[in-house]
């Protein structure tokens, strides 16, 4: 009769575990990265202790929870990681290309160009008057300021990008160290234990965070310990069972990023093709390209305008032939010469009187042939077209990532309705098992009561 009691007690124990597992699932329904768990209930096999007079095994020994199973599909998880990496790359890139767009349009350089050349027409109409010349000189200052502030906005963006890259590198270093800690934990934890499931959840969460930074290749051993490589299956190792890498980020003036992993004495460079780092590489190139081209426009503009100025006759004497514009470092830091006056603008061609405007006509031609405005507009529109394309790509990748995440969560996520059903099922089984204990007691009492 004690068998019956044992069977009842084992059922109560098993279903208690099952109920607490279900409760855990419900409590973590909204926890990111939590994988649904279930108690694996098995029958206890009886191998010995056959009752007196029996020759064959007639009864079992109840049930037991053999382990906690963790729902999950490693392929779907990997797919969600890869698509997340692609999306992070595009989104990070878009943010920086947007910065370039804001820098190029926010400082109204294009409008300042327009105003400057329109004012030149006023000087051409009345070259002997000081008023239109003063207007042109002010517009020249405004144009120079436009160049400088556009250049500074781009420089600031480049600086922030480098800062963000360094932060991301620190984050990647920390995450790599976490992977090693998790790997050590996995070595010690018993398989199918709650601790093991928690570590595996933590591992997947960490890997997802890493893949948002850089495209990673993950291989796992029988314990579930992950070896993480950055930038493809043959890339630098970020973390394995023993050691993690120190990640370093730097960006050159030419807009080339360099990412390297130091592990012990060895260092290896990473060429990211996904994640924030790849986006930063993209953004750094866009910023450097915009700066280059802005500087080029500034350099040719200063040279062209000063040559034009030198080729004409000023209204008032210009001792020392002060040039109109001063070049700066970087080239976009141009300004109107401090001692350049409105009367110094060379409106007349050589040999003309104060009311001659031959050189202003040359300026109109120079505007067309040099095409500074066109060069700058090309830069703006090319960047804008790139941004529009990238946004479309980001939209598509967002949809792919959402589908991949849905597929992963479909396997590992918690469905509250399902848990409610389980709750009822396990509760009933628990109640039934406790009835078994009562019945066993009643039967035992019957025998005891015989007199």
């Amino acid at each position: 009769m004690s068998d019956l009691l044992n069977i009842g007690a084992s059922g109560v124990r098993a279903y208690q575990t099952a109920l607490s597992t279900t409760s855990e699932n419900i409590a973590n329904a909204a926890t990111p990265g939590y994988s649904r768990r279930s108690a694996t209930i098995e029958e206890i096999g009886r191998t010995n202790s056959i009752s007196l007079g029996q020759t064959i095994k007639l009864t079992g020994a109840g049930s037991t929870v053999s382990g906690i199973a963790r729902a999950g599909d490693s392929y779907k998880t990997a797919e969600a990681r890869t698509s997340g990496s692609d999306l992070a790359k595009t989104e990070a890139g878009v943010a920086w290309i947007e910065r370039v767009e804001n820098a190029l349009t926010g400082n109204q350089l294009s409008d300042r160009f327009t105003t400057f050349f329109a004012s030149a027409k006023g000087v051409a109409a009345d070259p002997a008057a000081i008023a239109p010349r003063t207007v042109l000189l002010e517009d020249a200052r405004s144009l120079a300021a436009g160049f400088a502030s556009t250049g500074r906005a781009l420089t600031a963006a480049a600086g922030e990008l480098a800062g963000q890259g360094e932060d991301a590198a620190k984050q990647l270093t920390d995450l790599s160290a976490s992977i090693v800690r998790i790997n050590r934990g996995l070595t010690r934890s018993a398989p199918h234990s709650v601790a093991n499931a928690q570590l595996l959840d933590e591992r997947d969460r960490t890997l997802e965070a890493m893949s948002a930074l850089v495209d990673i290749a993950v291989s796992t051993d029988d314990f579930g310990r992950a070896t993480v490589r950055a930038g493809g299956a043959t890339g630098a190792v970020l973390a394995d069972v023993e050691t993690s890498a120190l990640v370093n980020f730097a960006v050159s003036d030419a807009g080339e990023i360099s990412l390297s992993a130091y592990r012990g004495a060895t260092s290896s460079s990473i060429s990211p093709s996904g994640g924030v780092f790849a986006g930063l590489a993209d953004g750094a190139r866009s910023i450097a390209d915009a700066r280059d081209r802005l500087n080029q426009v500034a350099t040719t503009f200063v040279a062209g305008m000063n040559a034009w100025q030198a080729g004409g006759t000023p209204l008032t004497p210009n001792p020392g032939n002060i040039p109109m514009f001063e070049a700066g470092t970087p080239a976009s830091e141009i300004k109107v010469h401090d001692r350049f006056e409105a009367g110094h603008i060379a409106a007349a061609a050589v040999g003309e009187g104060p009311r001659g405007n031959g050189n202003m006509t040359t300026l109109t031609e120079l505007r067309t042939t040099a095409g500074w405005e066109g060069m700058f507009d090309d830069l703006t529109t090319e960047n804008a077209a790139l941004l529009a394309t990238r946004r479309t790509v980001a939209g598509a990748q967002g949809a792919i990532h959402a589908a991949a995440t849905a597929a992963r969560d479909g396997v590992s996520g918690v469905d509250l309705d399902e848990e409610a059903v389980n709750l009822i099922r396990f509760q009933q089984a628990y109640q039934a098992s406790s009835r078994v204990i009562q019945v066993a007691r009643d039967i035992l009492q019957t025998i005891i009561d015989i007199r």
């Binding site: 002997a128 529009a388 996520g413 309705d417």
Partner: protein, 300 residues
């Protein structure tokens, strides 16, 4: 199919977020009446807008130039009109003094009148324009006609003033150098002279009692030169009017082009906004319905 509860919430949240963002964009477009807020909204459209803005700014400057040129031409025309009146009077004097019946005193009086006319002519030829510079000085800002020590009047100005740009490479000569109008007048004997010298010579001849019969022709030559200059100014004024109309018309065309590229189609946008809001409302309603369903309500 297994649907994770959190996924259900996340999806609805994303969907509602996207709809709100879309509604916000449409609302912004309606509020600003601009379809293109940044170049990336429509790169090609932005490029076209930049070109339109540029030619718009140029046209504004050119219209101001046309106004200036018109005022200069009007001032020149008025000054030349005064000179015409004076020269007509000189011609009358030439005809009157040609008759032999005039006494020496009368001739002297006429000579004095001619002296006054020369002074008037000098003043008018040195007229300043609205900008405070001489009208007939050419490309120089110096006083164009100066009386020399010997009493003759010399042209001190320069060559032609720069032509004023009035759009698309077109230019107009808003002022005429006095040298072209008052100097280089061919006398009957073929030698070149100037307007002042002709009148002064007439006065001198009258004072000395000489014959001025053939001098009327020289005065007529000076008068013709002035009349021709006035006619040319009138023709240029007409051209300016045409250019002004052209620029204004171009401005309207440009505005139409800009509107087509940049402006919001209000009807379509309002419809789209209404649609987005309706879908958003429906999503919110279905969200509250879906999330109110829970098996836990039936657990007792």
């Amino acid at each position: 199919m297994h649907v994770a509860t959190s996924l259900q919430y996340d999806r609805l949240r994303d969907r509602m977020g996207a709809l709100s963002a879309r509604a916000d964009t449409l609302n912004n477009q309606l509020a600003t009446n601009k379809r293109i807020a940044a170049p990336s909204d429509d790169a090609a459209g932005y490029r076209a807008l930049t070109a339109l803005r540029r030619s718009g700014a140029d046209a504004t400057a050119e219209l101001a130039n046309i106004d200036l040129a018109t005022s200069l031409l009007e001032a020149s025309s008025t000054a030349l009109g005064g000179i015409e009146t004076q020269l007509t009077r000189v011609r009358e004097i030439a005809i009157n003094a040609g008759s032999a019946t005039l006494s020496a005193e009368q001739k002297l009086a006429l000579a004095t009148e001619l002296d006054v006319i020369v002074d008037d002519l000098l003043r008018t030829a040195n007229t300043n324009d609205t900008r405070g510079n001489p009208l007939f000085g050419g490309d120089s800002t110096a006083t164009p006609y100066v009386r020399q020590a010997n009493g003759s009047i010399a042209f001190m100005g320069g060559g032609d003033a720069g032509e004023i740009p009035i759009g698309d490479g077109r230019t107009i000569n808003a002022t005429t150098s006095g040298e072209r109008i008052f100097n280089g007048i061919k006398l009957t004997d073929g030698t070149p002279s100037d307007m002042f010298a002709i009148v002064q010579k007439m006065a001198d001849t009258l004072r000395t009692g000489g014959n001025i019969a053939q001098m009327g022709t020289d005065v007529q030559a000076a008068l013709t030169s002035v009349t021709n200059a006035r006619a040319s100014i009138g023709a240029r004024g007409a051209r300016l009017e045409l250019e002004q109309t052209r620029l204004t018309d171009l401005g309207i065309t440009r505005e139409e082009a800009r509107s087509a590229i940049e402006d919001v189609d209000v009807t379509a946008t309002i419809t789209e906004l209404q649609k987005t809001l309706t879908v958003l409302q429906a999503t919110q309603a279905s969200f509250s319905k879906l999330t109110s369903l829970s098996l836990f309500d039936y657990l007792r």
